[in-house]
């Protein structure tokens, strides 16, 4: 049933859930939290609360990003700061409930306290003061250098309850856009904000929106790319699992601006929880009149559908992605026609395709204004970006920083350098299309241009740390093996070139290679890069080219007699 959207009612209901006037315990239940026992912690807490008849509200939340410390549990006691407990186990549950009943928290388990939290879109939740012995959120080294814009709600609200999203300013922007703004104003705001595509290519989002809107024909599609195919990147998963309504709100605003009545989220089948939460969130939004006919009472129809991918890296390429949604093998075709062209999009209809995180940026840009947004980040690189900092780094997790932040800050200050005291040797950014950047270039600011200049790419935001034990030639082989398997087989340079690159690398690693092989390797990589049909082939040699450039000695060592 579709009602008339009543944001205020939901907002009040949500506030009562976030600050229920009695203790609230929220367990971090994103995929990562569940896998390390979060669900068991939740069940045990539930059992104890029931058994002891404690007046405590128990709920779930998403992930704040400090994955190394999971399972994380938030405790809110009226008038006191929100306290985040870390590495919580089932055995801790009884102690937690006991402490909370006495109006306190188990200090030994406390990671940090949050006296108030800015949800950025106009809402600050004030929790309270006290528990001074527990470190402040802003003093925790992992959080200190971060700026939460996209992850502003992650780990604070229940992602399965639309009321809590409404309570932190959710859908206020969609309401504002649909009732008080026109298409031109919205698109112009997105253009002025300087937002660039977060899927990796960095194309100006506002420009893409304008092209789509102005494409001939009344029908338009908007598509969200949630296929997150880069191994080592999982920020989109967390964005959808921890705050699915943020994505939906971004798509509503975009649909209205571009005049699209149909939206589609193309999501990978390997993310069952994200799919479940999105399906649930879409249902909630429909029930409140935020999707469907005459949404927000503004006389505009829009709905979102979900389509699942099936594991093909090449489907990150726009034409391959559309082929996949239409039920074909995901093989790219030369562009034009682009997706935004008549005949080029989904079922031939002009379509706008943006990454999950790009959509997630929209509400905050429209809400706080392009001027506010453009001030975050660096020149031509506005805004923040979420990175998955993984591999052999001490503090593993999701990190959100303004664009232009140096690799040093991300890997050393936030990540605390190598795991187990090992020396960091390099990072690999941008997934299989990216390159390896040596530690001596860690003053490189992380923005689209600087990463390209050192031979890598931004990609979707995976940063995989490698330490002194990592064999860089093996890493190059790993990526070439990946790309070989993922090559769709349509063009020769990619299909054959990568296969031969892999043969060469295998030969080198088996110590059967020669200096001539190294020359051939470099030449082949260059040829594939320059002659492949689509982005997959054009970027696939990057791991080889960068390791050859920065870690040549490791290759040379393999060909010495």
């Amino acid at each position: 049933m579709t009602g008339v959207f009543d944001r205020a009612a939901g907002e009040v209901a949500g506030q009562k859930k976030i600050l229920p006037g009695k203790p609230r315990i929220a367990v971090g239940l994103a995929t990562c939290g569940i896998a390390v026992g979060g669900e068991k912690v939740y069940e045990r807490l539930q059992e104890i609360i029931k058994k002891t008849d404690a007046d405590i509200s128990l709920t779930k939340t998403g992930c704040i990003g400090y994955c190394r410390e999971e399972p994380l549990v938030n405790i809110t006691i009226p008038g006191k700061p929100l306290v985040i407990l870390h590495k919580v186990t089932e055995e801790d549950a009884e102690g937690i409930v006991e402490a909370v009943k006495k109006g306190t928290v188990p200090y030994k388990k406390a990671l940090c306290r949050v006296p108030s939290w800015d949800h950025v879109t106009g809402t600050v939740i004030t929790y309270g003061n006290g528990f001074d012995e527990i470190p402040l959120y802003a003093d925790v080294p992992f959080f200190k250098h971060q700026k939460k814009v996209i992850l502003r709600n992650a780990g604070f609200i229940n992602p399965e309850d639309i009321d809590e999203y409404l309570a932190v300013g959710g859908y206020a922007t969609a309401e504002q856009a649909l009732t008080r703004m026109d298409s031109e104003t919205i698109i112009s705001e997105v253009e002025k904000s300087g937002l660039r595509g977060r899927g990796g290519a960095g194309f100006p989002t506002g420009m893409k929106w304008r092209i789509t809107r102005d494409a001939p024909g009344a029908a338009k599609y908007i598509i969200c790319n949630a296929d997150e195919g880069d191994p080592g990147a999982y920020m989109n998963r967390n964005e959808m699992e921890s705050d699915p309504h943020m994505l939906i709100e971004g798509m509503i605003i975009g649909a209205y601006a571009m005049g699209a009545k149909k939206g589609l989220i193309y999501i990978r089948a390997e993310y069952p929880l994200a799919i479940r939460r999105l399906v649930h969130a879409i249902g909630e939004a429909r029930a409140l009149g935020l999707l469907g006919k005459n949404i927000i009472g503004a006389g505009f129809d829009f709905d979102i559908r979900i389509a699942t991918g099936a594991g093909a890296f090449v489907c990150g390429e726009s034409t391959a992605l559309v082929a996949s949604i239409e039920g074909r093998t995901g093989r790219p075709h030369p562009r034009p026609p682009r997706l935004t062209d008549p005949g080029g999009g989904l079922w031939g209809i002009p379509s706008d395709l943006n990454n999950v995180e790009t959509w997630c940026n929209i509400p905050v840009i429209i809400r706080n204004g392009s001027g506010w947004y453009a001030k975050i980040g660096a020149e031509k690189n506005a805004g923040t970006k979420v990175f998955s900092l993984v591999g052999k780094v001490d503090r593993v997790g999701l990190v959100e920083v303004p664009l232009g932040t140096s690799l040093n800050t991300i890997v050393c200050d936030i990540g605390n350098g190598g795991a187990q005291g090992k020396k960091v040797k390099a990072v690999q950014t941008g997934g299989p299309s990216g390159g390896c950047i040596p530690v001596r270039l860690f003053d490189t600011p992380v923005n689209y241009e600087s990463l390209n200049a050192v031979g890598s790419i931004m990609g979707s935001g995976g940063i995989v740390v490698m330490d002194e034990d990592t064999d860089m030639v093996d890493i190059a082989r790993y990526f070439i093996n990946f790309a070989t398997g993922e090559s769709c087989g349509k063009c020769v340079p990619c299909r054959e070139g990568l296969r031969h690159t892999l043969i060469l690398l295998n030969r080198l690693i088996a110590r059967k290679g020669t200096a001539k092989d190294l020359e051939t390797l470099a030449l082949l990589a260059d040829t594939i890069k320059n002659t492949s049909l689509c982005g997959l082939g054009q970027s696939a040699p990057n791991p080889v080219l960068t390791t050859l450039a920065y870690f040549r000695e490791e290759y040379d060592a393999l060909v010495k007699p």
Partner: protein
């Protein structure tokens, strides 16, 4: 797969958008692989040529045409898992289960034990990189996997050391 079950799956898709991959995904999840008879039945029911369905099933790594054992173990071979020793986990698993597959890291790796108890497969990335290396058994994720912790995990699924 029963004809009725297949019809129920097809009925979930009321629009051609995302339909074919969606149906195949549901079959894969329900059966652990895509049986040939089901594919033939599907071809007739949704009027898509079997050759086209076959090309889709072999193109995407999520689908498998090989029957699987009672429990499916999927090892993540994402970048984070790779640098943190996923290959060693796979080797250890092969030796514990006494199976020897073609150790190519492409998504179609699938080996089943002789007693049909376990099938080992490889995934590109579960997006659970923070607790690499990761493996999944029948849908449950296990993080920080290493050769030493494997036996205890496998025992939960009825494995006993020889």
């Amino acid at each position: 797969m029963e004809e009725k079950t297949l019809e129920e799956i097809i009925a979930r898709y009321d629009s051609p958008t995302g339909k074919v991959l969606g149906i195949l995904g549901d079959i894969q999840r329900s059966e652990g692989y895509i049986p040939r008879e089901t594919l033939e039945m599907l071809s007739v029911k949704i009027d898509v040529r079997i050759s086209q369905l076959y090309s889709i099933v072999t193109f995407y790594s999520f689908f498998s045409l090989k029957p699987v054992g009672e429990h499916v173990i999927t090892i993540c071979m994402g970048t984070a898992c790779h640098v943190r020793g996923a290959v060693g986990v796979l080797d250890a698993l092969e030796s514990l289960l006494d199976i020897h597959g073609d150790t190519t890291e492409d998504g179609k790796f699938s080996v089943t034990t002789k007693d049909n108890k376990f099938t080992v497969e490889i995934a590109r990335c579960f997006g659970a990189c923070s607790m690499a290396p990761v493996l999944q058994i029948d849908g449950t994720l296990y993080g920080y996997a290493n050769p030493d912790t494997l036996p205890a995990i496998l025992e939960q699924y009825g494995w006993r050391a020889a």
